[in-house]
Amino acid sequence: MEQLLQQAINGISLGSIYALIALGYTMVYGIIKLINFAHSDVYMLGAYFGYVCMTSFKLDFLPSLLISMILCTLTGVIVEKVAYKPLRNATRIAVLITAIGVSLFIEYVTMAIAGANVRSYPPQKGLFAQSVNLGNINITMQQIIIVSITIILMVLLQFIVKKTRIGKAMRAVSIDSDAAELMGINVNTTISFTFALGSALAGAAGIMVGIYYNSINPLMGMLPGLKAFVAAVFGGIGIIPGAMIGGYFIGIVEVLVSGYSNSMYRDGVVFAILILVLILKPAGLLGKNTREKV
Protein backbone atom coordinates (compact mmCIF):
# COMPACT_ATOMS: atom_id res chain seq x y z
CA MET A 1 0.00 0.00 0.00
CA GLU A 2 2.73 2.42 0.99
CA GLN A 3 4.62 1.49 -2.11
CA LEU A 4 1.54 2.13 -4.21
CA LEU A 5 1.11 5.57 -2.68
CA GLN A 6 4.75 6.35 -3.23
CA GLN A 7 4.38 5.30 -6.87
CA ALA A 8 1.25 7.41 -7.21
CA ILE A 9 3.12 10.46 -5.95
CA ASN A 10 5.96 9.85 -8.39
CA GLY A 11 3.38 9.32 -11.12
CA ILE A 12 1.62 12.58 -10.37
CA SER A 13 4.91 14.48 -10.60
CA LEU A 14 5.76 12.91 -13.93
CA GLY A 15 2.17 13.33 -15.06
CA SER A 16 2.36 17.07 -14.36
CA ILE A 17 5.20 17.35 -16.83
CA TYR A 18 3.32 15.36 -19.48
CA ALA A 19 0.18 17.39 -18.87
CA LEU A 20 2.01 20.69 -19.35
CA ILE A 21 3.51 19.53 -22.65
CA ALA A 22 0.25 17.92 -23.77
CA LEU A 23 -1.60 21.23 -23.33
CA GLY A 24 0.57 22.83 -26.00
CA TYR A 25 -0.07 19.98 -28.42
CA THR A 26 -3.78 19.99 -27.82
CA MET A 27 -4.24 23.76 -28.14
CA VAL A 28 -2.28 23.97 -31.37
CA TYR A 29 -4.06 20.94 -32.78
CA GLY A 30 -7.40 22.38 -31.78
CA ILE A 31 -6.72 25.60 -33.58
CA ILE A 32 -4.87 24.65 -36.78
CA LYS A 33 -5.14 20.83 -36.84
CA LEU A 34 -1.38 20.42 -36.79
CA ILE A 35 0.62 17.86 -34.83
CA ASN A 36 3.31 20.34 -33.91
CA PHE A 37 6.35 18.10 -33.80
CA ALA A 38 8.52 21.06 -32.87
CA HIS A 39 6.65 21.44 -29.59
CA SER A 40 8.74 18.77 -27.86
CA ASP A 41 11.85 20.70 -28.82
CA VAL A 42 10.50 23.90 -27.32
CA TYR A 43 10.24 21.86 -24.13
CA MET A 44 13.88 20.80 -24.55
CA LEU A 45 14.86 24.45 -25.09
CA GLY A 46 13.04 25.32 -21.87
CA ALA A 47 15.34 22.95 -20.03
CA TYR A 48 18.41 24.50 -21.66
CA PHE A 49 17.31 28.10 -21.04
CA GLY A 50 16.78 27.21 -17.38
CA TYR A 51 20.21 25.55 -17.29
CA VAL A 52 21.90 28.67 -18.63
CA CYS A 53 20.03 30.91 -16.17
CA MET A 54 21.00 28.74 -13.22
CA THR A 55 24.62 27.99 -14.11
CA SER A 56 25.90 31.01 -16.06
CA PHE A 57 23.82 33.68 -14.36
CA LYS A 58 23.44 31.93 -10.99
CA LEU A 59 19.77 32.83 -10.84
CA ASP A 60 17.29 31.21 -8.48
CA PHE A 61 14.62 28.81 -9.62
CA LEU A 62 11.73 31.25 -9.94
CA PRO A 63 13.45 33.92 -12.05
CA SER A 64 14.94 31.13 -14.18
CA LEU A 65 11.47 29.66 -14.65
CA LEU A 66 10.07 32.98 -15.77
CA ILE A 67 12.91 33.75 -18.15
CA SER A 68 12.76 30.26 -19.60
CA MET A 69 9.00 30.58 -20.15
CA ILE A 70 9.42 33.95 -21.85
CA LEU A 71 12.18 32.71 -24.15
CA CYS A 72 10.15 29.63 -25.07
CA THR A 73 7.16 31.83 -25.82
CA LEU A 74 9.32 33.84 -28.20
CA THR A 75 10.64 30.67 -29.83
CA GLY A 76 7.15 29.30 -30.30
CA VAL A 77 5.86 32.50 -31.86
CA ILE A 78 8.85 32.84 -34.17
CA VAL A 79 8.52 29.23 -35.33
CA GLU A 80 4.86 29.80 -36.11
CA LYS A 81 5.50 33.04 -37.99
CA VAL A 82 8.47 31.82 -40.01
CA ALA A 83 7.60 28.21 -40.77
CA TYR A 84 3.88 27.59 -40.39
CA LYS A 85 2.24 30.85 -41.40
CA PRO A 86 3.39 30.72 -45.04
CA LEU A 87 1.69 27.32 -45.25
CA ARG A 88 -1.70 28.36 -43.92
CA ASN A 89 -3.48 27.15 -47.06
CA ALA A 90 -1.25 24.19 -47.89
CA THR A 91 -2.20 20.56 -47.28
CA ARG A 92 -1.93 19.39 -43.71
CA ILE A 93 0.73 16.86 -44.55
CA ALA A 94 2.96 19.62 -45.97
CA VAL A 95 2.67 21.54 -42.71
CA LEU A 96 3.40 18.36 -40.79
CA ILE A 97 6.62 17.80 -42.75
CA THR A 98 7.56 21.43 -42.09
CA ALA A 99 6.99 20.82 -38.38
CA ILE A 100 9.32 17.83 -38.57
CA GLY A 101 11.86 20.06 -40.31
CA VAL A 102 11.59 22.68 -37.56
CA SER A 103 11.94 19.99 -34.92
CA LEU A 104 15.16 18.67 -36.48
CA PHE A 105 16.42 22.22 -36.91
CA ILE A 106 15.98 23.10 -33.24
CA GLU A 107 17.51 19.81 -32.09
CA TYR A 108 20.61 20.06 -34.21
CA VAL A 109 21.19 23.78 -33.72
CA THR A 110 21.08 23.14 -29.99
CA MET A 111 23.49 20.28 -30.48
CA ALA A 112 25.83 22.50 -32.51
CA ILE A 113 25.83 25.17 -29.80
CA ALA A 114 25.65 23.16 -26.60
CA GLY A 115 27.13 19.87 -27.74
CA ALA A 116 25.48 16.49 -27.95
CA ASN A 117 26.49 15.31 -24.50
CA VAL A 118 24.30 15.16 -21.44
CA ARG A 119 24.52 18.08 -19.04
CA SER A 120 23.59 18.07 -15.37
CA TYR A 121 21.62 20.74 -13.65
CA PRO A 122 23.37 22.38 -10.70
CA PRO A 123 22.59 20.57 -7.42
CA GLN A 124 19.63 22.10 -5.68
CA LYS A 125 20.19 23.89 -2.41
CA GLY A 126 18.01 25.02 0.48
CA LEU A 127 14.33 24.39 0.21
CA PHE A 128 14.68 22.40 -3.02
CA ALA A 129 16.94 19.80 -1.49
CA GLN A 130 14.53 19.01 1.34
CA SER A 131 11.88 16.40 1.47
CA VAL A 132 8.89 15.46 3.57
CA ASN A 133 8.48 12.02 5.07
CA LEU A 134 5.05 10.68 5.85
CA GLY A 135 5.68 7.29 7.35
CA ASN A 136 7.62 5.45 4.70
CA ILE A 137 6.43 7.72 1.93
CA ASN A 138 8.91 10.24 0.75
CA ILE A 139 7.82 13.41 -1.00
CA THR A 140 10.61 15.62 -2.25
CA MET A 141 10.26 19.36 -2.26
CA GLN A 142 10.86 19.24 -6.01
CA GLN A 143 7.78 17.10 -6.45
CA ILE A 144 5.71 19.47 -4.38
CA ILE A 145 6.98 22.42 -6.38
CA ILE A 146 6.38 20.70 -9.73
CA VAL A 147 2.83 19.80 -8.84
CA SER A 148 2.00 23.22 -7.36
CA ILE A 149 3.43 25.15 -10.28
CA THR A 150 1.59 22.90 -12.71
CA ILE A 151 -1.67 23.50 -10.88
CA ILE A 152 -1.11 27.27 -10.78
CA LEU A 153 -0.33 27.33 -14.51
CA MET A 154 -3.39 25.24 -15.33
CA VAL A 155 -5.69 27.49 -13.34
CA LEU A 156 -4.14 30.47 -15.11
CA LEU A 157 -4.66 28.80 -18.47
CA GLN A 158 -8.28 28.01 -17.70
CA PHE A 159 -8.77 31.63 -16.70
CA ILE A 160 -7.24 32.92 -19.93
CA VAL A 161 -9.21 30.55 -22.14
CA LYS A 162 -12.53 30.97 -20.37
CA LYS A 163 -12.59 34.56 -19.17
CA THR A 164 -10.52 36.75 -21.46
CA ARG A 165 -11.24 38.17 -24.91
CA ILE A 166 -8.29 36.43 -26.49
CA GLY A 167 -9.39 33.17 -24.89
CA LYS A 168 -12.82 33.54 -26.44
CA ALA A 169 -11.14 34.25 -29.76
CA MET A 170 -9.11 31.05 -29.37
CA ARG A 171 -12.21 29.00 -28.81
CA ALA A 172 -13.97 30.67 -31.73
CA VAL A 173 -11.08 30.07 -34.13
CA SER A 174 -10.82 26.43 -33.10
CA ILE A 175 -14.49 25.86 -33.88
CA ASP A 176 -14.55 27.66 -37.22
CA SER A 177 -11.72 29.92 -38.25
CA ASP A 178 -13.49 31.33 -41.32
CA ALA A 179 -16.56 32.31 -39.33
CA ALA A 180 -14.36 33.77 -36.59
CA GLU A 181 -12.57 35.87 -39.17
CA LEU A 182 -15.89 37.18 -40.48
CA MET A 183 -16.84 38.12 -36.94
CA GLY A 184 -13.82 40.42 -36.82
CA ILE A 185 -11.44 38.14 -34.93
CA ASN A 186 -7.82 38.47 -36.01
CA VAL A 187 -7.11 34.82 -36.74
CA ASN A 188 -3.35 35.22 -37.16
CA THR A 189 -2.93 36.95 -33.83
CA THR A 190 -5.05 34.30 -32.17
CA ILE A 191 -2.96 31.48 -33.64
CA SER A 192 0.26 33.19 -32.54
CA PHE A 193 -1.18 33.62 -29.06
CA THR A 194 -2.03 29.92 -28.92
CA PHE A 195 1.55 29.01 -29.82
CA ALA A 196 2.76 31.48 -27.20
CA LEU A 197 0.66 29.91 -24.44
CA GLY A 198 1.60 26.36 -25.36
CA SER A 199 5.28 27.19 -25.61
CA ALA A 200 5.31 28.95 -22.24
CA LEU A 201 3.87 25.83 -20.61
CA ALA A 202 6.40 23.62 -22.42
CA GLY A 203 9.18 25.92 -21.19
CA ALA A 204 7.99 25.49 -17.62
CA ALA A 205 7.88 21.72 -18.09
CA GLY A 206 11.43 21.78 -19.47
CA ILE A 207 13.02 23.54 -16.54
CA MET A 208 11.10 21.45 -14.02
CA VAL A 209 12.30 18.24 -15.66
CA GLY A 210 15.78 19.71 -15.38
CA ILE A 211 15.60 20.08 -11.61
CA TYR A 212 13.69 16.80 -11.20
CA TYR A 213 15.82 14.42 -13.27
CA ASN A 214 18.94 16.55 -13.19
CA SER A 215 20.11 15.72 -16.71
CA ILE A 216 19.31 17.28 -20.07
CA ASN A 217 20.37 16.67 -23.69
CA PRO A 218 19.37 18.04 -27.10
CA LEU A 219 17.23 15.00 -27.99
CA MET A 220 15.50 14.77 -24.61
CA GLY A 221 12.24 16.08 -26.10
CA MET A 222 11.54 13.23 -28.49
CA LEU A 223 10.10 10.53 -26.27
CA PRO A 224 8.35 12.72 -23.66
CA GLY A 225 6.96 14.75 -26.56
CA LEU A 226 5.55 11.64 -28.15
CA LYS A 227 4.03 10.51 -24.86
CA ALA A 228 2.59 13.93 -24.16
CA PHE A 229 0.98 13.80 -27.56
CA VAL A 230 -0.40 10.38 -26.70
CA ALA A 231 -1.77 11.98 -23.53
CA ALA A 232 -3.49 14.67 -25.57
CA VAL A 233 -5.04 12.09 -27.89
CA PHE A 234 -6.04 9.95 -24.91
CA GLY A 235 -7.97 12.80 -23.32
CA GLY A 236 -9.48 13.94 -26.61
CA ILE A 237 -7.33 16.12 -28.78
CA GLY A 238 -8.27 19.78 -28.88
CA ILE A 239 -9.84 19.57 -25.42
CA ILE A 240 -7.87 21.33 -22.68
CA PRO A 241 -9.11 19.33 -19.66
CA GLY A 242 -8.57 16.18 -21.74
CA ALA A 243 -4.87 16.95 -22.03
CA MET A 244 -4.58 17.38 -18.27
CA ILE A 245 -6.35 14.11 -17.51
CA GLY A 246 -4.37 12.34 -20.22
CA GLY A 247 -1.06 13.69 -18.92
CA TYR A 248 -1.68 12.53 -15.35
CA PHE A 249 -3.02 9.18 -16.54
CA ILE A 250 0.01 8.44 -18.71
CA GLY A 251 2.39 9.59 -15.97
CA ILE A 252 0.81 7.34 -13.35
CA VAL A 253 0.54 4.31 -15.66
CA GLU A 254 4.16 4.67 -16.62
CA VAL A 255 5.41 4.82 -13.05
CA LEU A 256 3.21 1.91 -11.99
CA VAL A 257 4.40 -0.28 -14.87
CA SER A 258 8.04 0.40 -14.17
CA GLY A 259 7.43 -0.05 -10.45
CA TYR A 260 5.64 -3.37 -10.64
CA SER A 261 6.98 -5.05 -13.77
CA ASN A 262 9.78 -4.82 -16.27
CA SER A 263 10.46 -1.12 -16.78
CA MET A 264 11.44 -1.89 -20.37
CA TYR A 265 7.77 -2.44 -21.11
CA ARG A 266 6.81 0.99 -19.75
CA ASP A 267 6.64 2.71 -23.12
CA GLY A 268 5.03 -0.30 -24.76
CA VAL A 269 2.15 -0.20 -22.29
CA VAL A 270 1.63 3.50 -22.95
CA PHE A 271 1.35 2.91 -26.68
CA ALA A 272 -0.84 -0.15 -26.25
CA ILE A 273 -3.25 1.95 -24.18
CA LEU A 274 -3.17 4.58 -26.89
CA ILE A 275 -4.14 2.10 -29.59
CA LEU A 276 -6.91 0.61 -27.47
CA VAL A 277 -8.37 4.04 -26.72
CA LEU A 278 -8.20 5.01 -30.37
CA ILE A 279 -9.97 1.87 -31.46
CA LEU A 280 -12.63 1.94 -28.77
CA LYS A 281 -13.17 5.68 -28.58
CA PRO A 282 -11.33 7.37 -31.43
CA ALA A 283 -12.18 10.89 -30.32
CA GLY A 284 -10.55 10.31 -26.93
CA LEU A 285 -11.91 10.16 -23.42
CA LEU A 286 -13.68 13.52 -23.47
CA GLY A 287 -14.16 13.86 -27.22
CA LYS A 288 -17.37 13.59 -29.15
CA ASN A 289 -17.53 11.37 -32.20
CA THR A 290 -18.39 13.43 -35.22
CA ARG A 291 -19.79 11.96 -38.39
CA GLU A 292 -19.16 13.15 -41.86
CA LYS A 293 -22.08 14.86 -43.50
CA VAL A 294 -23.25 13.10 -46.63
Binding site: Y29, K33, I35, A83, P86, L87, A90, T91, R92, I93, A94, V95, I97, T98, I100, G101, V102, S103, L104, F105, E107, Y108, V109, M111, A112, M222, L226, F229, V230, V233, I237, N262, M264, Y265, D267, G268, F271, A272, L274, I275, L278, I279, P282, E292, V294
Partner: protein, 323 residues
Protein backbone atom coordinates in the same frame (compact mmCIF):
# COMPACT_ATOMS: atom_id res chain seq x y z
CA UNK B 1 -1.68 1.33 -79.88
CA UNK B 2 -0.22 -2.19 -79.54
CA UNK B 3 2.91 -1.11 -81.37
CA UNK B 4 3.65 1.77 -79.02
CA UNK B 5 3.07 -0.52 -76.05
CA UNK B 6 5.66 -2.90 -77.43
CA UNK B 7 8.16 -0.19 -78.22
CA UNK B 8 7.62 1.31 -74.76
CA UNK B 9 8.40 -2.06 -73.25
CA UNK B 10 11.54 -2.23 -75.35
CA UNK B 11 12.64 1.25 -74.25
CA UNK B 12 11.99 0.33 -70.63
CA UNK B 13 14.00 -2.87 -70.89
CA UNK B 14 16.89 -1.15 -72.61
CA UNK B 15 17.04 1.67 -70.06
CA UNK B 16 16.83 -0.77 -67.13
CA UNK B 17 19.55 -3.04 -68.47
CA UNK B 18 21.82 -0.11 -69.31
CA UNK B 19 21.34 1.45 -65.86
CA UNK B 20 22.31 -1.85 -64.32
CA UNK B 21 25.29 -2.32 -66.61
CA UNK B 22 26.66 1.20 -66.22
CA UNK B 23 26.57 1.10 -62.44
CA UNK B 24 28.02 -2.41 -62.41
CA UNK B 25 30.84 -1.12 -64.59
CA UNK B 26 31.44 1.86 -62.31
CA UNK B 27 31.65 -0.49 -59.35
CA UNK B 28 34.03 -2.74 -61.26
CA UNK B 29 36.25 0.26 -62.05
CA UNK B 30 36.04 1.28 -58.39
CA UNK B 31 34.68 4.71 -59.32
CA UNK B 32 31.81 3.76 -57.07
CA UNK B 33 33.95 2.76 -54.11
CA UNK B 34 32.88 0.98 -50.95
CA UNK B 35 31.72 4.21 -49.40
CA UNK B 36 29.55 5.14 -52.38
CA UNK B 37 28.25 1.58 -52.54
CA UNK B 38 26.78 2.08 -49.09
CA UNK B 39 25.07 5.21 -50.40
CA UNK B 40 23.80 3.23 -53.37
CA UNK B 41 22.36 0.58 -51.06
CA UNK B 42 20.73 3.23 -48.87
CA UNK B 43 19.16 4.83 -51.93
CA UNK B 44 17.75 1.49 -53.15
CA UNK B 45 16.38 0.61 -49.71
CA UNK B 46 14.85 4.07 -49.40
CA UNK B 47 13.24 3.75 -52.83
CA UNK B 48 11.59 0.49 -51.75
CA UNK B 49 10.43 2.05 -48.47
CA UNK B 50 9.16 5.24 -50.07
CA UNK B 51 7.34 3.60 -52.97
CA UNK B 52 5.62 1.15 -50.63
CA UNK B 53 4.63 3.90 -48.19
CA UNK B 54 3.40 5.97 -51.11
CA UNK B 55 1.00 3.14 -51.96
CA UNK B 56 -0.46 3.41 -48.44
CA UNK B 57 -0.33 7.18 -47.91
CA UNK B 58 -0.15 8.74 -51.36
CA UNK B 59 -2.46 6.46 -53.32
CA UNK B 60 -4.82 4.99 -50.74
CA UNK B 61 -4.80 8.15 -48.62
CA UNK B 62 -4.08 6.39 -45.32
CA UNK B 63 -1.65 8.40 -43.24
CA UNK B 64 0.81 5.90 -41.76
CA UNK B 65 3.73 6.66 -39.46
CA UNK B 66 4.61 3.03 -38.81
CA UNK B 67 6.73 1.99 -41.75
CA UNK B 68 9.85 1.51 -39.61
CA UNK B 69 7.99 -1.16 -37.65
CA UNK B 70 7.39 -3.29 -40.74
CA UNK B 71 10.93 -2.68 -41.85
CA UNK B 72 12.27 -3.97 -38.55
CA UNK B 73 10.24 -7.18 -38.84
CA UNK B 74 11.80 -7.85 -42.23
CA UNK B 75 15.26 -6.99 -40.93
CA UNK B 76 15.12 -9.22 -37.86
CA UNK B 77 13.53 -12.14 -39.70
CA UNK B 78 16.10 -12.07 -42.46
CA UNK B 79 19.00 -11.55 -40.05
CA UNK B 80 17.96 -14.48 -37.85
CA UNK B 81 17.53 -16.78 -40.85
CA UNK B 82 20.80 -15.87 -42.54
CA UNK B 83 22.72 -16.10 -39.26
CA UNK B 84 21.65 -19.75 -39.02
CA UNK B 85 21.83 -20.47 -42.73
CA UNK B 86 24.45 -18.24 -44.34
CA UNK B 87 23.94 -19.34 -47.93
CA UNK B 88 22.38 -17.70 -50.98
CA UNK B 89 19.20 -19.81 -50.72
CA UNK B 90 19.13 -18.88 -47.04
CA UNK B 91 19.35 -15.22 -47.98
CA UNK B 92 16.54 -15.49 -50.52
CA UNK B 93 14.44 -17.38 -48.00
CA UNK B 94 15.30 -14.74 -45.37
CA UNK B 95 14.18 -11.82 -47.52
CA UNK B 96 10.95 -13.54 -48.51
CA UNK B 97 10.14 -14.66 -44.96
CA UNK B 98 10.88 -11.16 -43.72
CA UNK B 99 8.48 -9.73 -46.26
CA UNK B 100 5.77 -12.27 -45.50
CA UNK B 101 6.13 -11.76 -41.74
CA UNK B 102 5.88 -8.00 -42.15
CA UNK B 103 2.84 -8.39 -44.40
CA UNK B 104 1.16 -10.66 -41.84
CA UNK B 105 1.72 -8.18 -39.04
CA UNK B 106 0.54 -5.43 -41.40
CA UNK B 107 -2.72 -7.24 -42.03
CA UNK B 108 -3.28 -8.02 -38.34
CA UNK B 109 -2.53 -4.47 -37.26
CA UNK B 110 -4.33 -2.89 -40.18
CA UNK B 111 -7.64 -4.59 -39.66
CA UNK B 112 -8.58 -2.80 -36.43
CA UNK B 113 -6.63 0.44 -36.89
CA UNK B 114 -7.56 1.29 -40.46
CA UNK B 115 -11.02 2.29 -39.30
CA UNK B 116 -9.34 5.39 -37.94
CA UNK B 117 -8.96 8.45 -40.10
CA UNK B 118 -6.23 10.96 -40.78
CA UNK B 119 -4.08 11.96 -37.83
CA UNK B 120 -5.65 9.36 -35.56
CA UNK B 121 -4.50 6.61 -37.90
CA UNK B 122 -1.07 8.21 -38.05
CA UNK B 123 -0.77 8.14 -34.27
CA UNK B 124 -2.08 4.59 -34.00
CA UNK B 125 0.41 3.32 -36.59
CA UNK B 126 3.16 5.23 -34.82
CA UNK B 127 2.18 3.57 -31.53
CA UNK B 128 2.09 0.18 -33.20
CA UNK B 129 5.54 0.62 -34.64
CA UNK B 130 6.90 1.68 -31.25
CA UNK B 131 5.36 -1.44 -29.71
CA UNK B 132 7.09 -3.61 -32.31
CA UNK B 133 10.36 -1.90 -31.47
CA UNK B 134 9.87 -2.42 -27.75
CA UNK B 135 9.06 -6.09 -28.31
CA UNK B 136 12.32 -6.56 -30.23
CA UNK B 137 14.11 -4.70 -27.46
CA UNK B 138 12.76 -7.12 -24.86
CA UNK B 139 13.06 -10.42 -26.71
CA UNK B 140 16.62 -10.65 -25.41
CA UNK B 141 17.14 -14.33 -26.14
CA UNK B 142 16.20 -14.05 -29.78
CA UNK B 143 17.11 -10.51 -30.76
CA UNK B 144 19.90 -9.83 -28.29
CA UNK B 145 17.95 -6.83 -26.96
CA UNK B 146 19.39 -3.36 -27.11
CA UNK B 147 22.80 -4.63 -28.18
CA UNK B 148 21.33 -5.81 -31.47
CA UNK B 149 22.42 -8.52 -33.88
CA UNK B 150 25.97 -8.41 -35.19
CA UNK B 151 27.87 -10.11 -37.99
CA UNK B 152 24.84 -10.69 -40.14
CA UNK B 153 26.14 -12.35 -43.30
CA UNK B 154 26.35 -9.90 -46.16
CA UNK B 155 24.76 -11.11 -49.36
CA UNK B 156 23.40 -7.97 -50.91
CA UNK B 157 25.35 -6.56 -53.79
CA UNK B 158 24.33 -4.25 -56.59
CA UNK B 159 22.62 -7.08 -58.47
CA UNK B 160 20.34 -8.05 -55.61
CA UNK B 161 19.56 -4.43 -54.79
CA UNK B 162 18.73 -3.77 -58.40
CA UNK B 163 16.47 -6.82 -58.69
CA UNK B 164 14.53 -6.07 -55.53
CA UNK B 165 14.23 -2.34 -56.19
CA UNK B 166 13.03 -2.59 -59.78
CA UNK B 167 10.80 -5.50 -58.81
CA UNK B 168 9.14 -3.42 -56.09
CA UNK B 169 8.69 -0.40 -58.33
CA UNK B 170 7.27 -2.46 -61.20
CA UNK B 171 4.87 -4.46 -59.05
CA UNK B 172 3.53 -1.45 -57.19
CA UNK B 173 3.14 0.71 -60.28
CA UNK B 174 1.44 -2.19 -62.06
CA UNK B 175 -0.90 -2.58 -59.12
CA UNK B 176 -1.81 1.09 -59.20
CA UNK B 177 -2.69 0.84 -62.87
CA UNK B 178 -5.03 -2.09 -62.22
CA UNK B 179 -8.66 -2.10 -61.18
CA UNK B 180 -7.64 -3.04 -57.62
CA UNK B 181 -5.27 -0.10 -57.59
CA UNK B 182 -8.02 2.23 -58.79
CA UNK B 183 -10.20 0.91 -55.99
CA UNK B 184 -7.50 2.02 -53.53
CA UNK B 185 -7.24 5.45 -55.17
CA UNK B 186 -11.01 5.89 -55.03
CA UNK B 187 -10.84 5.54 -51.24
CA UNK B 188 -8.34 8.39 -51.12
CA UNK B 189 -10.59 10.50 -53.33
CA UNK B 190 -13.86 9.95 -51.45
CA UNK B 191 -14.35 7.01 -49.14
CA UNK B 192 -18.12 7.33 -48.90
CA UNK B 193 -18.59 7.53 -52.66
CA UNK B 194 -16.21 4.60 -53.14
CA UNK B 195 -18.25 2.49 -50.72
CA UNK B 196 -21.44 3.48 -52.49
CA UNK B 197 -19.91 2.29 -55.77
CA UNK B 198 -19.28 -1.16 -54.34
CA UNK B 199 -15.67 -0.76 -53.17
CA UNK B 200 -15.11 -2.34 -49.76
CA UNK B 201 -13.00 0.34 -48.13
CA UNK B 202 -11.82 -1.96 -45.35
CA UNK B 203 -10.70 -4.62 -47.80
CA UNK B 204 -8.70 -2.28 -49.97
CA UNK B 205 -7.20 -0.29 -47.13
CA UNK B 206 -5.97 -3.51 -45.58
CA UNK B 207 -4.77 -4.74 -48.98
CA UNK B 208 -2.74 -1.59 -49.58
CA UNK B 209 -1.41 -1.67 -46.02
CA UNK B 210 -0.40 -5.33 -46.34
CA UNK B 211 1.32 -4.84 -49.70
CA UNK B 212 3.10 -1.78 -48.29
CA UNK B 213 4.22 -3.76 -45.24
CA UNK B 214 5.42 -6.63 -47.45
CA UNK B 215 7.80 -4.38 -49.35
CA UNK B 216 8.89 -2.54 -46.21
CA UNK B 217 9.83 -6.01 -44.94
CA UNK B 218 11.97 -6.56 -48.04
CA UNK B 219 13.66 -3.21 -47.47
CA UNK B 220 14.41 -4.17 -43.87
CA UNK B 221 15.83 -7.52 -44.93
CA UNK B 222 18.10 -5.82 -47.46
CA UNK B 223 19.18 -3.35 -44.79
CA UNK B 224 20.21 -6.14 -42.42
CA UNK B 225 22.09 -7.96 -45.13
CA UNK B 226 23.85 -4.82 -46.40
CA UNK B 227 25.00 -3.27 -43.16
CA UNK B 228 25.61 -6.50 -41.17
CA UNK B 229 24.24 -5.02 -37.99
CA UNK B 230 20.79 -4.12 -36.65
CA UNK B 231 19.42 -2.98 -33.32
CA UNK B 232 15.99 -1.71 -32.28
CA UNK B 233 17.13 1.93 -32.23
CA UNK B 234 17.59 1.96 -36.01
CA UNK B 235 13.88 1.32 -36.50
CA UNK B 236 12.56 4.05 -34.24
CA UNK B 237 10.03 6.68 -34.97
CA UNK B 238 12.54 8.88 -36.81
CA UNK B 239 13.03 6.15 -39.43
CA UNK B 240 9.30 6.26 -40.24
CA UNK B 241 9.55 10.02 -40.45
CA UNK B 242 12.53 9.78 -42.82
CA UNK B 243 10.48 7.64 -45.19
CA UNK B 244 7.48 9.95 -44.99
CA UNK B 245 9.74 12.90 -45.77
CA UNK B 246 10.93 11.18 -48.97
CA UNK B 247 7.35 10.43 -50.02
CA UNK B 248 6.09 13.96 -49.41
CA UNK B 249 9.17 15.57 -50.95
CA UNK B 250 8.70 13.50 -54.10
CA UNK B 251 4.98 14.07 -54.17
CA UNK B 252 2.14 12.06 -52.66
CA UNK B 253 0.77 9.79 -55.33
CA UNK B 254 3.82 9.92 -57.60
CA UNK B 255 6.03 6.83 -57.84
CA UNK B 256 8.62 8.60 -59.96
CA UNK B 257 8.57 11.39 -57.37
CA UNK B 258 9.44 8.94 -54.60
CA UNK B 259 12.31 7.53 -56.64
CA UNK B 260 13.70 10.96 -57.53
CA UNK B 261 13.43 12.18 -53.94
CA UNK B 262 15.16 9.06 -52.60
CA UNK B 263 18.01 9.45 -55.08
CA UNK B 264 18.37 13.20 -54.49
CA UNK B 265 18.32 12.90 -50.72
CA UNK B 266 20.82 10.04 -50.90
CA UNK B 267 23.22 12.15 -52.94
CA UNK B 268 22.67 15.28 -50.86
CA UNK B 269 23.30 13.51 -47.55
CA UNK B 270 26.44 11.91 -48.96
CA UNK B 271 27.79 15.31 -49.92
CA UNK B 272 26.69 16.89 -46.66
CA UNK B 273 28.74 14.29 -44.83
CA UNK B 274 31.70 16.60 -45.42
CA UNK B 275 30.00 19.10 -43.12
CA UNK B 276 29.15 16.49 -40.52
CA UNK B 277 28.44 18.92 -37.70
CA UNK B 278 25.89 20.99 -39.60
CA UNK B 279 24.58 18.23 -41.87
CA UNK B 280 21.28 17.84 -40.09
CA UNK B 281 20.79 21.59 -39.80
CA UNK B 282 21.18 22.02 -43.56
CA UNK B 283 18.89 19.06 -44.17
CA UNK B 284 16.16 20.50 -41.94
CA UNK B 285 16.42 23.95 -43.50
CA UNK B 286 16.16 22.39 -46.93
CA UNK B 287 13.10 20.48 -45.84
CA UNK B 288 11.36 23.61 -44.53
CA UNK B 289 12.23 25.64 -47.62
CA UNK B 290 10.98 22.98 -50.03
CA UNK B 291 7.72 22.64 -48.12
CA UNK B 292 7.15 26.39 -48.02
CA UNK B 293 7.83 26.88 -51.72
CA UNK B 294 6.62 23.57 -53.12
CA UNK B 295 4.17 22.01 -50.65
CA UNK B 296 2.92 19.50 -53.23
CA UNK B 297 6.41 17.99 -53.47
CA UNK B 298 8.76 17.85 -56.41
CA UNK B 299 6.43 15.95 -58.73
CA UNK B 300 2.98 16.70 -57.34
CA UNK B 301 0.97 13.62 -58.26
CA UNK B 302 2.41 13.46 -61.78
CA UNK B 303 4.59 10.71 -63.16
CA UNK B 304 7.48 10.86 -65.54
CA UNK B 305 6.55 8.36 -68.18
CA UNK B 306 7.56 7.21 -71.57
CA UNK B 307 4.46 8.79 -73.07
CA UNK B 308 6.37 12.07 -73.00
CA UNK B 309 8.89 10.53 -75.34
CA UNK B 310 6.32 8.79 -77.50
CA UNK B 311 4.40 12.06 -77.90
CA UNK B 312 7.63 13.61 -79.02
CA UNK B 313 8.08 10.75 -81.45
CA UNK B 314 4.55 11.14 -82.79
CA UNK B 315 4.99 14.83 -83.44
CA UNK B 316 8.23 14.11 -85.26
CA UNK B 317 6.54 11.46 -87.35
CA UNK B 318 3.67 13.73 -88.30
CA UNK B 319 6.12 16.37 -89.37
CA UNK B 320 7.88 13.84 -91.55
CA UNK B 321 4.54 12.84 -93.02
CA UNK B 322 3.90 16.37 -94.14
CA UNK B 323 7.20 16.61 -95.87
Amino acid sequence: MKKTAKSNLAIKLVSLVSTFAIIQLLIYLDIINDYLQATLATICINIILAVSLNLITGFTGQFSLGHAGFMSIGAYTCALITLRNPTIPGFILGVLSGAVAAALVGAIVGLPTLRLRGDYLAIATLGMSEIIRIVFLNLDEITNGAAGLQDIPQFTNWMWLFIYTTGTVLIISNFIKSSHGRACISIREDEIAAEAMGISSTKYKVTAFTIGAFFAGIAGALYASTFNFIDPKIFGFSKSIDVLVIVVLGGLGSISGSIIAAVLLGIITTYLQAFANIQMILYSVLLIIIMIFRPQGLMGSKEISLSVFSKLGDSLKSKKGRV
